[in-house]
């Protein structure tokens, strides 16, 4: 178990190093930030001063060496835009995203398990069909479209919810709804499929032969065995949520890491791009290990 975690960790660290290297060099292909940080009418000297102030006048490999050196001292660089440590910026935004991601993935998984199991238990029924189409329809709409329509309907039209922002629990409802739609739609399919194949498994025959009640067969036996594929897909979906729900964060003004990253990318705030990627990649790596441990917990046959 420990050796497994150790091995996974070393793989992940390799991947993160590779990722950071790639990000470092590729972002520097996207142009000179000085054009963006100085007014259009700034003089050439001002630009040169800006470049040397921020170390952008050095050759790229030299900048990379500097970056690595600083990294070893846990110095992740300064944000060009925000006048403060890039890591501080990233770490301030990350919890906001994490909160959203956790609630969204928990909610969508829980709902999907409920709806998907019932649909599988009554495969072919009207409920099954409606649940299938409705959940897929939710998953098939562009999220920004749903978000804006949601605001226009619920906040402007009906005045039930605040349009956007953070603060009260009412502010959570629409972002969570939008974030939940797609994972929910996909997970309902996964749950239904896994449940159908679990319900056709030999051990279900055994349970029936034992005289186990139907609800217990569905939720105790079939669902319990379906959890593995569900966890796999939910884990993948959680990964993409942790990476930042850019669209939702942008529209609802949620100060998360996805919005931060896209701003940093567009503004060529390299240190922030690197720091956000470091934070999210680490989170994803921890998440992946957690999913693996969850596997072992859910299926006694899996041992690392």
């Amino acid at each position: 178990m420990f050796s497994y975690i150790g091995r996974r960790a070393s793989h992940s660290i390799l991947s993160v190093i590779g990722l950071l290297t790639l990000v470092f060099f590729l972002t520097r292909l996207t142009g000179d930030p000085s054009a963006l940080y100085l007014p259009l009418d700034a003089t050439a000297e001002a630009r040169a001063a800006f470049a040397s102030l921020n170390g952008l006048d050095q050759p790229v490999h030299w900048q990379f060496a500097e970056y690595l050196k600083d990294l070893l001292q846990l110095d992740f660089g300064q944000s060009l835009r925000q006048n403060r440590s890039a890591m501080e910026v990233a770490l301030q935004a990350f919890p906001e995203t994490l909160k959203l991601a956790l609630v969204a993935i928990t909610l969508s998984t829980a709902l999907a398990i409920l709806v998907g199991s019932l649909a599988a238990a009554r495969a072919g029924s009207l409920f099954d069909r409606i649940a299938g189409v409705a959940s897929l329809a939710g998953a098939s709409a562009p999220d920004f479209w749903v978000a804006i329509v949601g605001i226009l309907v619920f906040a402007v039209g009906l005045e039930l919810l605040p349009t956007s922002g953070t603060g009260t629990w009412a502010h959570w409802i629409m972002p969570i709804f939008v974030l939940t739609l797609r994972p929910f739609g996909l997970l309902v399919q996964v749950v239904r499929g896994a449940m159908l194949s679990a319900l056709a498994s030999p051990y279900i025959k055994t349970a029936r032969a034992k005289g186990v009640r139907r609800t217990k067969i569905i939720f105790g036996h079939a669902l319990r065995n379906s959890l593995l594929p569900i966890v796999t897909v939910a884990g993948d979906l959680a990964t993409s949520l942790v990476n930042g729900a850019v669209v939702v964060e942008t529209i609802f003004g949620w100060p998360g890491i996805g919005k931060l990253m896209i701003d940093a990318i567009i503004q060529r705030d390299f240190a922030v791009v690197q720091s956000t990627i470091l934070v999210t990649a680490t989170a994803i790596f921890i998440l992946n290990i957690a999913v693996d441990l969850l596997y072992a917990f859910l299926d006694p046959r899996i041992r690392y």
Partner: protein, 570 residues
Amino acid sequence: MKNVGNPILKVEGLTVDFLSNDEPVRAVDNVSFHVNRGETLVILGESGSGKSVSTSTVMDLIDCPPGDIVAGSCLFDGTELSRLDADARRNINGRRIAMIFQDPLAYLNPVYTVGRQIEEVYESHGEAGGREARARAMELLQRVGIPEPETRIDYYPHQFSGGQRQRIMIAMAIALKPDILIADEPTTALDVSVQAQILDLLRDLQRETGMALILITHDLEVAASMADRIIVMSAGKVVETGPAREVFSNPKHAYTCRLISASPDGDPAEASNKRATKIGSETLLKVEHLTKEYALSSGAFAPKRRFKAVDDVSFEVRRGETLGIVGESGSGKSSIARMLLRLSDPSSGKALFSGEDVFEMGGKTLMAFRRKVQMVFQDPFGSMNPRMTVRSIISEPWAIHRDILPRHQWKERVAELLELVGLKPDHADRYPHQFSGGQRQRIAIARALASEPELIVCDEAVSALDVSIQAQVIDLLADLRTRLGLSYIFITHDLPIVRQFADRILVMKQGKVVEEGDTATLFRAPRHEYTRGLLQAVPKPKWLMSENEPPAEGADVFWSDRPRSGSFSG
């Protein structure tokens, strides 16, 4: 004790269809049978005969649709089952009728401890819960012979051996002392010696509880050793029924006759053997001190243990000879085959093929060797790519070894080979799944022959086939040996089959060769205790055993010679 009172279960005119786009498939056609308390009814039939479907109908395990119960009644203890509602039928399951299945690993829920799964029987029927259920589960485990039940109760199914898992299934089934126990091929996946133990356990439990036992099997010996009465099914119909002894000694229906005569040793073995007539003196393959070691890691900090799957094995195969390698699962026999075919590397040892060490070969020599040695695998379906036509399967050796046959002759040669193994040339454009098991194995043999080999390694090549098919495939192999001068290494766990076919036999146990000798001698006078045990584990007919007496050793010459018919190796 036998045939007392009214039948506890009476099935009349049961007809079950499986629906699909075309005409419904009739799985069970007008089947009637009954079973009395304390009696053992055996339903005998080959795969696809509908023998499981009829009992599953009794247990309400058929999903409708796609199942469709067309007609028939199931009278259980005076109650018509089809009139009961779902909950009432659920209540009968497990409490009054219980069932165990062929493959306990698949039929036990992998994510729950066995204790919990046994306790569930009590809980589902409101009999006991919590501590009490656990205590009773522990008692049951003890009763069915699981060692250390206090600790093993918290183990998961995958942590038990095949035999133990079947014992656990049995424990679950007898938890509420049912009136009927339905056992669906309960020993098919097990080794001979384990099979004997499980059958003994079932007999003992039946004696203790007085339950009726319905045993479903395709295995003649198992049927004979358990049955009071027997019904024989074929293609969904009951073709013969009667007291066991009568059916066996005097089969009336053509199907039953065929079934009994098809078993590999239906006639006295020595007379009908299919052994080689001419064995050359030239040594084709000489294996010396072959050893295969695996390192087992049992935990992060535990030292690595080493495990010898094959331990210092030496033998020879002469040109034209058939060498049988016999052993139970885990004896290392398949590891030898894999190493000889260079599918895995040996830890040490040599294998000289025509004087050259197989394990040292590389490049061209290895390619030449691969041509000369071919393998026929246990599962003819698994060993063929389902996406390839028979033609491309058989011609694959020519695609790999470009010098065997020019491409324009492939078609013709495939047709020849198909005819050689008893199939039609126009089968070449079909896919493997369109053939029956026996036909598939013929295709596999045709593929093996395509590269004009000198030695064919058959790894449990007929074990997955029905009895009647086994004999045909063995006949084919023997015929090919005579016609093409082949040599075989024939690996099996099934003694009677090698007895017919092999010239010499190697008995293996836990990676070691325990006995070696020519076939007739080995069967007549087995020297090693293990070999004797194997021979004796073959079940004896029930009517030759006295009550309360464990099966006698070598009780009857005819039946002790009578082999077990087809079975799966574990």
